[in-house]
Every structure is written in structure tokens, then in C-alpha cells.
């Protein structure tokens, strides 16, 4: 019992947090954001089945998300007309849409992995997105398809009119999907998919057909993406051709990569963080997509393991009890890092204000300080902040590096003893 608590304790805590969150943050905006996070978590985890476990970088994963969503939306309309499918099981129709599309397109794309696969996925994504406007009977044309989620056929008797009820439905599906996807990584298919990712030639020599393995992994990933699409359909009650396009595909790639592809829980972190950033940052600053791009490039260059990679990097240090030394070094580098970030942020905000706001002469307000964007003082201050911050950041990097070396030495020494 204690063993299970230790291993899965954090998951139990997470489940409790999921249940309690909308009661703590009970504004309409927060509940809506939490619902979006739930859907994004399933979507990102399904994407990681492809990228992290299968080694297949796909630029068109939103196709299965969107196709699942469209099928689920049509199903919702059929349920409204009297079809005997309870609302709670409508995401399964989304999953069905995902599976069918995933099987067909997966078989077509998986002959090779790597860049060829990425290009095929891009081509299929653009193909479906472009043909969505040409097939208005399924995709609804410019207006998309809409439905009413307050139907009579439900399993639990809720009406699902309120956002919080939809949130709990999403959480229930999310927990089921997380469990299923986690278990899938332990199945033989999951393991062989890892093998095909790492060394397809060798896997073939052991006797596994790389193409079949990849297609199966792809189909399963498309299934879960379709479930996410079905939940999207229930949550928003409208779905348009944008959902199969390049924007959600790019989004899920960012979420998964920022969260970390090497660990199972990475995409969960990434999905939650990116959804939070997208919804809150977009309201604060016009430059949120630029910050996004910079964060993404920074992660690719300096933290390719993502957030999960950064966290797990500290796991052995935590276990050895040496975290305090590292924390001291991090505290030293945090100050110049903050200064550098403030300088960059001020520069970006000034430029955005000058070029994109309605009235550039109006004073800009940052942290309660109001100033005119064209004033040379603003530019000088931000450039100075950047310069000073960068200079001390380089010094701080040396401190952090030294601290890591000491910690590594100590752990090695402890291991030898």
C-alpha cells in the first residue's frame, strides 16, 4: 500500500487537484480555461504518442482532432434528433473518426519516419484543411457545424448546460485517457514503438515490421486525438474548418515540445502551461505570439528536454539531498535573468505600442509606470536593462555551472562510497 502511494501518490494528488480546481477558481473565464486545458492535455498526450514514443514528427495531427470533432458534432446532431447514444459517450464517436482517418492516412504516411514523414503529414494536413471548404456537407463551409449539447439522452442525468458540468465530463475523459495512454506505453506495442523510434533497422532485424508498428501507433494516437476533438465539439458546440488546419497542429507541437517529449507527463505540463499562456497573455499584451516563439526557440536551443526534462534533471539531486546548493546558485542567477527579461519585454512592448496600437502617441503603461513610447528615456532604459542583465547573466551562468559540477562530484563521490 505504501509502495503504491509513493509511486502514484502524485497522480492521486493531481486527481484531487483536478476535482477541486473549478471550485477554487469559480469565474466563468477560469472554468472555461480549465476545460480547454483538459482537452489540450488529451490532445498533447496523443501527439506525444507519435513524437516522443514513436519518433514521428507530424505537422498535421490536428486533422484527426478536427475530423473526430466533426464526426462527433454530426453525432451530437443525430443524438438531438433521437439517436440513442448518451452524451457522455459522444467523444467515442470522435475517437472513431480519428481511428478511421488515422488508419488510412497513417498507412499512407508511415513508410519512412523522419523528415519524409513530417512532409507527408504537412501535405495531408494542408490537403484536408483546403478540401474542408470544398466539402460543405460534412464540414459546413465557412460557418462550420454546430449542435446543442443539452440533449435528453445522458448516462448521468446532468443537463450539461453549465460549464462546470462540461468540465467534469472533460476531466473524467482526461483521466481515463491518461490512464489508457500510460498503460499503452507499457504494452508490447508501446515498447516496440520505442524500439522502432530508436533504431528501425534493428527492430526489423528482430522481426517487427516497422511500418506496421508505426501505423498501429499512429492509429492509436489518432484515436485519442479524435476523443479530444469530440470533447472540443461538446465544449464549444461549434466546430469550423480552422480546427483541422495548421494552427492547432502547430499549437499541439509547441505544447508537447515545451512540456517535454522524453517523459510521459511532459505534454500534460506543456498543454496546461501553453493554454494558460495563450488565454491570459493574449489579454495582457499584443506580443504574446512573439514571446511564445522566443520561448519555443529558447527551449529548442537550451532545453531540448522541455520542462519535464528540466524537472527530471533535478531528480537525482533531490534524492541526494543536495538541492539547496543548486537553489542558491539559481537564486543568484535569477536576478540578472529577471532584469534581462524586463529589458527585452519593455523593448518589445514599446515597439508593439508604436506600430500596432490605435494611437501611438498615447502613453504606454507598464507595471503602473506610464510613459510615452517614443521618449528616448524609455529606449535607453530598456537597452540599459538588457545590457546590464545580459552581462550579469553570463557571470551567473558560471556560478550555476560551478554549482552543478560540485553537486555532480558529490553524487559521484557518494556513489563510489
Amino acid at each position: 500500500m505504501n509502495h503504491y502511494l509513493k509511486q502514484f501518490g502524485i497522480w492521486f494528488a493531481a486527481v484531487i487537484v483536478c476535482i477541486v480546481l473549478p471550485l477554487v477558481f469559480n469565474s466563468g473565464f477560469s472554468r472555461s480555461m480549465l476545460s480547454q486545458m483538459g482537452i489540450a492535455v488529451i490532445f498533447a498526450l496523443s501527439y506525444n504518442m507519435l513524437l516522443g514514443q514513436g519518433g514521428m514528427l507530424s505537422f498535421g495531427h490536428a486533422v484527426y482532432y478536427g475530423l473526430g470533432g466533426f464526426l462527433a458534432m454530426h453525432a451530437l446532431n443525430w443524438v438531438g434528433d433521437g439517436w440513442p447514444l448518451p452524451l457522455e459517450l459522444v467523444p467515442l464517436m470522435g475517437g472513431l473518426g480519428g481511428v478511421v482517418a488515422g488508419l488510412i492516412f497513417g498507412w499512407l504516411s508511415t513508410d519512412r519516419a523522419g523528415t519524409t514523414f513530417a512532409l507527408i503529414s504537412l501535405g495531408i494536413g494542408e490537403l484536408i484543411a483546403a478540401s474542408a471548404l470544398m466539402l460543405p456537407s460534412f464540414f459546413g463551409g465557412e460557418e462550420g457545424i454546430s449542435a446543442n449539447r443539452m440533449v435528453d439522452t445522458t448516462l448521468t442525468g446532468f443537463r450539461f448546460g453549465q460549464q462546470i458540468e462540461v468540465y467534469y465530463l472533460i476531466v473524467a475523459w482526461m483521466l481515463v485517457c491518461i490512464a489508457l495512454m500510460y498503460l499503452q506505453t507499457k504494452t508490447p506495442l508501446g515498447r516496440v514503438a520505442n524500439a522502432v523510434r530508436d533504431n528501425p533497422e534493428r527492430a526489423a532485424f528482430i522481426g517487427y515490421n516497422a511500418r506496421v508498428v508505426r501505423t498501429l501507433q499512429f492509429t492509436l494516437a489518432a484515436f485519442f486525438a479524435g476523443i479530444a476533438g469530440g470533447l472540443f465539439a461538446i465544449n464549444y458546440e461549434i466546430i469550423t474548418t480552422e480546427t483541422v488546419g495548421a494552427i492547432p497542429s502547430g499549437n499541439v507541437l509547441m505544447m508537447t515540445y515545451i512540456g517535454g517529449v522524453g517523459h510521459f507527463f511532459g505534454p500534460i505540463l506543456g498543454a496546461a502551461l501553453v493554454t494558460l499562456m495563450q488565454l491570459t497573455l493574449a489579454g495582457i499584451t499584443h506580443a504574446w505570439l512573439l514571446y511564445f516563439g522566443l520561448l519555443f526557440v529558447g527551449m529548442v536551443l537550451w532545453a531540448p528536454g522541455g520542462l519535464a526534462g528540466l524537472i527530471m534533471m533535478h531528480e537525482p539531486v533531490w534524492k541526494a539531498g543536495l538541492m539547496s546548493r543548486l537553489l542558491r546558485a539559481y537564486a543568484i542567477i535569477a536576478v540578472p535573468a529577471l532584469v534581462l527579461f524586463l529589458g527585452l519585454m519593455t523593448l518589445i512592448e514599446i515597439n508593439y505600442h508604436l506600430s500596432l496600437s490605435v494611437n501611438p502617441d498615447e502613453p504606454l503603461s507598464l507595471f503602473g509606470i506610464s510613459f510615452k513610447a517614443q521618449s528616448p528615456a524609455a529606449w535607453i532604459v530598456s537597452l540599459a536593462l538588457i545590457g546590464i542583465g545580459f552581462f550579469f547573466f553570463r557571470k551567473g551562468q558560471r556560478v550555476v555551472r560551478r554549482s552543478w559540477n560540485e553537486v555532480a562530484q558529490q553524487m559521484k563521490g557518494a556513489a563510489i562510497q
Binding site: 514528427l57 499512407l108 504516411s109 513508410d111 519512412r112 523522419g114 523528415t115 519524409t116 513530417a118 512532409l119 507527408i120 504537412l122 501535405g123 495531408i124 494542408e126 490537403l127 483546403a130 478540401s131 470544398m134 466539402l135 460543405p136 456537407s137 460534412f138 495548421a246 502547430g250 507541437l253 515540445y257 506580443a287 505570439l289 512573439l290 511564445f292 516563439g293 522566443l294 519555443f296 526557440v297 529548442v300 536551443l301 531540448p304 518589445i348 515597439n351 508593439y352 506600430s355 500596432l356
Partner: protein, 316 residues
Amino acid sequence: MLEYVLFSLLNSLVLGMLLFMLSSGLTLIFSMMGVLNFAHASFYMLGAYFGYQISTWIGFWPALVIAPLLVGGLGALVERYGLRSLHKYGHVAELLFTVGLFYIIEESVNLIWGRNAVMYPIPTILDFPIFKLLGAEVSAYRMFMLLISMAMFVGLYLVLTRTRIGLIIQAALTHPDGVNALGHNVPAVFMLVFGGGSALAGLAGVIGGIFLITEPAMAATLGPIVFVVIVVGGMGSLTGAFVASLLLAAIQTFAVGIEYSLTDILALFGWQVDTSGFFRDIWRIQLSHTGPILPYLFMVLMLMFRPKGLMGKRES
């Protein structure tokens, strides 16, 4: 009918040569370094915007020279300080880096020049009809575009076949490891090729930005088509990229004028088709409406049946 064919040919020639200018750089980069530069169309956009800005400050002809050099310099910097440190992480990391670069460049363009299209007009010296073809006028600017693209193609061909560095690049297109083993400074060659490819994209931007609209979304619209070109043309083959550019431009230009649907074609054979039901859209859609998807359909079919492309020398 003749008018339609002739004008479509002319338009597809102009568009195809523009597409070739864009994709030649990308083919070189992709074939040599294995890096699919997602931000290549962004360099095209930067070329258009730099061209616009320098035209407004100095003039069009200096812009034609300076803007590609600026974009090429930027490309070389990106390679030196960004991609070089990512070689050890593999192609996926390099690809993702260029994806992030795509977003950053697009937002920076939004930041500096705003979200609307800018007025980048045809230079007055080229704004006249140069000849009449079957009663309709052909603009001199299109001929100018054709001239520049041809000059670029010839110049690229001469550099690649008649200079020493060109021979090294050609060798590295098909056997990059072998060239490295022979002792050539492959990282410097990579930087040169990346910068050169970006400069070509910038040049395409300077003249294409006038022909097509100059707006922040131009990279996202033209980007996927360029990928289709290099996939269809094949890895390691500039001639393939040339043929593929012309082919794809022709497909798109000709399709726009054909208003037949599957139902019409079947009716020619006397088959009546029931156009209600689940698949009614597929029966009734006209070829002229399928323009956007034809390149991608072509690419998917090509990747399924002949992943080497039309004239590719390597598979990956």
C-alpha cells in the same frame, strides 16, 4: 481556347520561375544539410519587406541588390549561431528550431511593419505594357521577373558547375559525408549555402512582393507550396526543382480556368450520377475550385509512390 492556353502558359511560366527562385535555395539547403528550413518562406517575406523599405528610402534598383544581401547575411547568422549548435541533436531539433524562427520572424514583421499589407508598387520605369498577345497586353514587369529568374538560374548553374566552390557544393549535395572526409571545410560551406539560399529567397521576395501582395501572411501562404516543390522535384536535384516549380505553377494556373466537375466528365460518357447523398460534394465540385488542394494531392501521391521525387538523387 488558344487565348486561355497561351495566357495560362505565360502566367505559369512567370509564377513557376518565381517558385523556382524560392525553392532552389531550399533544395540546396535541404539536400546538403538535411535541414528542412521551415523559415525559408519567412526569408522570402523578409526580402519583400526589406525591398519595400529600401525602395521607399533609396529606390528600387539599390533594393534589388541590397535586400537579398541583407537576407543572406541574416541567414548566415542563423546558421552560425542557431543551427550549428543543433546539429548534434538531429534533424528534428533543427526542424523545430526553424519552426520557432518562422513564428518569430512573422511576429517581428508584424511588429515593425504592422499587420496590413504594404504598398509595394511596380517601379514606374517598368510599369508599361510591353507587347500585345492576341489582343491583350502583357506587362513589362512580368517580363522583367522572367528575366531576373532566368538570369538567376543561369548564374546558379554557372556557379555550381564552373567554380571550385560550386563543385564542392555539388558533391556535398549527394555525398556530404564523403566531402567532409576529404577535408573540405564543410561547416563553412554549410554557412555559405544557407546564406546563399536565403539570399535567393530574399531576391524572390524583392520582385515577388511586387507581383503578389506584400503582407505578414505571405510566408504562411507560400511556404507549404515550396515544400511541395522540393518534395516533388526530388532531393539533391536543382533541375528537379525547376521542373517541379513549372509543373506545379502550370497545374494551379490551368486548373483555375477549367469549370468541369466529375459529374460533367461522366456525363460526356453518358453516365448519369445521383448527386445527392453523402458524397455529393465530391461529384459536384468543379476543377476550378480544387486549385488549392492540387499541389498537396500531387505531393502526397508522389511521396507514396516515388519518395525520391521526379529527379531526386537521394531518398533522405
